[in-house]
Amino acid sequence: MTKTNFTRRGALKTGAATGAGLALPTIFTGAAWSEAHTGFTNAPQGSTVTLGFNVPQSGPYADEGADELRAFQLAVEHLNGDGDGGMLQTFSSQALDGTGIMGKRVEFVTGDTQTKSDAARASARSMIEKDGAIMVSGGSSSGVAVAVQALCQEAGVIFMAGLTHSNDTTGKDKKANGFRHFFNSYMSGAALAPILAAQYGTDRKAYHLTADYNWGYTTEEAIRSSTEAMGWETVNTVLTPLTQTDFSSYIAPVLQSDADVLVLNHYGGNMVNSLTNAVQFGLRQREVGGKQFEIVVPLYSELMARGAGENIAGILGSQNWDWKLENQLGDRYSGTNAFVQSFGQKYGFPPSQAAHTCYVQTLLYADAVTRAGSFNPCAVVEALEGFEFDGLGNGPTLYRADDHQCFKDVVVVRGKENPENEFDLVEIVEVTPVDQVTYPPDHPQFAGGSLGECNTGA
């Protein structure tokens, strides 16, 4: 198709150009300027240390992201000795004294995950490569958490997960450099089951609507296995597309079945829409075989409750933490009020559970560095593994060494019938003690992963 004219001149020119092109990169491989050896990635130089807060600022979880960022800013303020100190006074480890971390003033950089794993990794890499962040925290979905956790493992920095509920984060995708304070799907199931049995009886038929992605699968599995263990029967499980906004066509078959409980394994906008549809279809007034029909939402969040409005009245779900814990259930949950007070003073409203977990993660990291006496990731990992602490709002808590998951009480809440204001939408039903939500590290729902070795990046 092409007629080629080879000329001697052309061949010579081509050869010279190709040769020059090939030779160019080799100039750089021989470069002898090597950086000062520090022993690990982004060892803090000078009088400051940089943390990276990677939260969704756009996309479906932007509200959670904004609240997380507020909490991070508050945590940095407290670490640097500004403000009222928040949980620093109630924290059982008193290593932190408000002079930054090991005398270095804490600075931070922020990024937008857009709730996309690609964008989240790009943003985290820019924090690590450009801004010299020694720790990355935040995130508001499991896909992002898993992606960024793996990145931090490769790069040799610590990842303190924000809001991520899927079992995988500390299950099949767990990493030595990653830590999760938030609870997970299994714990939701284990915490809800006894309370569901007490409230609705052990002879129930459940119908599951599940968001068609990883978090949905693990949550459905967790709720199914724990409710079936106490005698419930699962009538049907239906996957719904993540982008679905109208769930009428999924709710209608529920009316045809003989189910008397609907479990909505949905989060965010999905949950707001499916719950609203379910209520519109009159499921709350329905009776099946003499039993009142009930709806369950495994993972509750204040921000979602706000979106669903009055439809959440009377609906059960689980939470990692609630700002009313200490007031209603006493000293066991100390730290809660200290945090709520300083957060409220600064921003004018109570914090969400996303804000709480991010604040606590930042403090836990700073404390681990101080106790280890080094920013070296492996030293931090060692300090956090098996660390038992109290006074951070969740009662006595353990950072388990086997999977870097926190074990603590789980709060079961119910939507209020008559909320007084938009921040007080749920009431605490009960708290499931930590023993009931603890599982062995090799539990089948968490199988298939290994922590690996901690990585310093050097």
Partner: protein, 426 residues
Amino acid sequence: MTDQTQQTATVTQPRPRTRSSGGILGLTKKDFGLLVLVAILTIFAPVILNPFPAGSAMAQFNAGYPDLMQRFVIFGIFAIGFNILFGLTGYLSFGHAAFLGVGSYAGIWSMKLLTLNVIPAILVSVIVAGLFSLIVGFISLRRSGIYFSILTLAFAMMSYALAYSVLTPITGGETGLQLRASDPRIFGGELMPGMTPRATLFGMQMQDSTDLRFGAWTFTLNTGYYIAGIVLLVAFYLSIRIFRSPFGMMLRAVKSNQNRLNYTGLSPKPYTLAAFVISGMYAGLAGGLLVAMDTQVGAERMFWTASGEVVLMTILGGAGTLIGPILGAGFIKYFENIVSTINKSTLESWFAFMPDGLQDAFVAVIYPFVGKGWHLTLGLLFMLVVIFLPGGLVQGGSKLATVFRRDRKGGGVEDDAAAQRQAREE
């Protein structure tokens, strides 16, 4: 493609200057100059993109860190490929991210199952994306114009939905795919449990970097970036050759008047399909490079916004021009990664020298446009470019060049006129 090929040869014979002039690498002097320019930009990007000293307040605007430089280059390749379809044939594909995503998944499976070497991974990406684009193209190209765009968009969203949920065993669903030490690799030996698998090229690791320090300045030279850079140069060279070839001429003919082409007895279908597959393979190449540089893939890579992004890149830079798509890609990625990280406290520190009230006012005015508002700023710029520079940034560049060269030559319009007059005189 026998008789059509002969036709092509006859069509283009009157304009043989591109090949028979015996230029370097078979390029004209001007095109070779362009290639050299891109090569120089690529080689010195770590220096050019880091104009501010590391500790200074302006360091916020430095873009010379490995991740972003890799993205500049990779999305440059993606946009070059897209431009071969859109710029030459005028077919606006709204689903090109699907090929990028498919290439990425193929690449990571190659690294999971074959070897950690990036070359097989990239080859597999290109081939799989090529096959996928052959199927999509064969169906979508039955229609043109808006219907074609909608069809490609539908395919891309289908791929996204499949990857996100139904195909979770293959794609990892929401959490995506990553390399693991336990992957059953055929070549390349066993990894100790606990070791982190990393993409390599004959022992060189993609994330290896050397820092050059000159006083306060730090320049990071990254292995992965230079490998991607070499691929960019090859891709750019190929695109110049395609633009200047008889085949490229046929694609332009499709764009200018498809009916006339039909009346001359030529079927445009094989040409458009070939262009579609070529640009799909470019997208696959970009996808393969993405996983080679950062060994992870998520389904969001195929979302329609990602497809829209490459359209923006191409139009912003200048559709149908050679270097435009690369400029557009760099522009958008810069905004996404740099402007989005400017937060309120950064702004406050910039305006700290002002009195309190004035500082607050400045921050309040600028804040909506940076940080999470980067989309807004990009949108405004895009509007300005489309309204005032319909030819994209390339047109802006040539307008600027005209200003500086006024003494020597007139504007582009006069150039054309001069050429026509010359032709008449001959």
